[in-house]
């Protein structure tokens, strides 16, 4: 049901952009105004959300330790899974962000007769997630060839790398295949695993379908029904040099693609997609486990009612005396 709602929502978005740009001829709206709006919402929304997080303090230092602490000199500690300084925490974060290290540890629990619980390897989600995110990043960077003039060498190098198999013409980018495969897997696992179906919200399917639609329209434009990419680049460069133009004769497929991207980035700061920024602020991962070495400060450390020794001795003085225990006041 949630999947269906999301799917329909994406179809409606496609229709809106098709009708808007093609039938109503609102190409300026779709090629200039909406992208400007979307980019602004994305950047300012993202910054706003992160600052909102930043305004809340981290009162306690609570890293999740996944390895031996640094204690006695002769015990080998695990400087990454249980970092004792900023460098370890930095490496831990880098591995988390770049390689999804925690997700790599994933296991699958099965209850067998006996009863016997078995924990199997389960790296499929890790692989799917990693392929998806890296493909997305590379595709995003590759698109800079549309945004920048002249195209920097590093973008070209990335393209050559992505297309190094040199299959087909235009050369097939591996990331195009990976992203479609990975998103399809991510959708299917939400639909087929009963536990995941149970926890999945509209907000979980919607971005997946949206990204799938973006990838498919992009692939159609590159490999199947060609568009005037010179015109497309004119639009993109126009936007990024504040000199917007809308050439004639650009396929509506492009307007659909651009509109869906605009929706995605406007939706970004409102949604769980903010995990992109949030992961950096996760106190269980980005802090070193050095609480006993360096005092962590809680800016709102509250005044609480305490029970002092004097009050305690006042209450129990008699029994303490009888038991022969030392007293502060006789």
């Amino acid at each position: 049901m949630n999947a269906l709602i999301s799917f329909v929502a994406v179809i409606v978005l496609i229709i809106i952009s098709f009708v808007g740009a093609q039938t109503l001829g609102l190409s300026y709206l779709f090629a200039v105004i909406i992208p400007y709006l979307a980019i602004s919402i994305f950047i300012f929304g993202f910054v706003y959300r992160v600052i909102k997080w930043a305004r809340a303090p981290v009162p306690f230092r609570i890293p999740t330790t996944c390895g031996q602490q640094k204690s006695l000199s002769w015990i080998k500690n695990n400087p990454i899974e249980n970092p004792h300084n900023w460098l370890g925490a930095f490496i831990r974060m880098a591995l988390e962000v770049l390689l999804f290290r925690s997700l790599f540890k994933n296991t699958k629990t099965t209850l067998k007769d006996g009863p016997r619980l078995v924990y199997g390897m389960n790296q499929l989600l890790w692989l799917g997630g990693l392929l998806f995110h890296w493909s997305f990043l590379i595709i995003f960077i590759r698109h800079f060839r549309f945004f920048m003039e002249p195209v920097p060498w590093c973008i070209k190098a990335l393209e050559n790398l992505d297309g190094f198999l040199q299959i087909g013409l235009p050369v097939v980018f591996m990331t195009d295949i990976f992203i479609v495969a990975a998103v399809t897997y991510l959708v299917l696992r939400r639909l087929t695993d009963s536990k995941l179906r149970y926890i999945s919200l509209v907000a979980d399917f919607f971005p997946l379908f949206l990204i799938l639609a973006i990838a498919v329209t992009g692939i159609l434009m590159r490999y199947f029904t060609k568009v005037d990419i010179i015109g497309v680049k004119d639009i993109a460069v126009g936007i990024f040099s504040f000199n917007p133009v809308v050439p004639d004769g650009i396929s509506s497929l492009f307007f659909i693609h651009l509109f869906l991207v605009s929706v995605l980035i406007s939706y970004f700061p409102l949604s769980k997609l903010m995990h992109m920024g949030g992961i950096f602020l996760s106190p269980t991962r980005n802090l070193a486990n050095n609480n006993r070495v360096v005092r962590h400060i809680n800016p709102w450390n509250p005044k609480v009612k305490m029970h002092t020794y004097e009050e305690y001795e006042d209450e129990f003085r008699e029994v303490m005396r009888e038991a022969g225990m030392p007293l502060d006041k006789e």
């Binding site: 600052i51 003039e149 070209k156 133009v245």
Partner: protein, 179 residues
């Protein structure tokens, strides 16, 4: 704000990357747009139209060339006939000076058998081509590679491997060929 320094630095990096095209285009002096591009083509009499209409060529020329290459190299099918009956030699960089040269050379038939037959075939082919062909190659009309090919390809960061094998004709040779 707590840990403000690190977070602000992170956000600045984020915003910078996301707006990189703006700064980049600002910094690069070149006219960032190719919106006034023209297709740099020599106006040659009787050769005012390509094998397909301009818009189609713009979008699909790479496919056309790809197909042509396979047809020529694998099947020896050299001649492309358009629906309106014009005939094109399927070649990217073949220059018709070569045809003239072959036709105008007299060869001794008796010297070496192998070479002779090769030359004869070439002569026949050349004559055939000369008589029926609208254009011998793409570059015959689109003679300025820099203007015609490279400008868009560079703009779009497209790196076709045509010229990995084909030799880029010398401009002087091109001039002769067009005459």
């Amino acid at each position: 704000m707590y840990n403000g320094g690190k977070i602000i630095i992170g956000l600045i990096i984020f915003a910078f990357i996301m707006t990189l095209p703006i700064w980049y285009n600002l910094a690069s002096d070149q006219d960032p747009s190719l919106k006034d591009y023209v297709i740099a083509t020599k106006g040659v009499k009787g050769k005012d139209r390509c094998v397909l209409p301009k818009e189609e060529m713009l979008a699909t020329h790479m496919d056309v060339l790809d197909q042509w290459r396979d047809l020529v190299v694998r099947d020896g099918e050299r001649i492309h006939t358009t629906p309106d009956g014009r005939r094109f030699n399927r070649s990217l960089s073949y220059i018709n000076t070569e045809v003239e040269t072959i036709l105008n050379t007299s060869y001794s038939i008796t010297a070496e058998g192998d070479t002779n037959s090769t030359i004869q075939v070439k002569r026949v082919k050349a004559k055939h081509l000369k008589d029926n062909i609208t254009a011998y190659s793409c570059i015959e009309c689109h003679s300025n590679k820099e203007q015609f090919c490279d400008r868009c390809h560079t703009y779009m960061s497209v790196d076709p491997y045509c010229w990995d094998c084909h030799i880029i004709p010398e401009p002087q040779l091109m001039e002769v060929a067009v005459k």
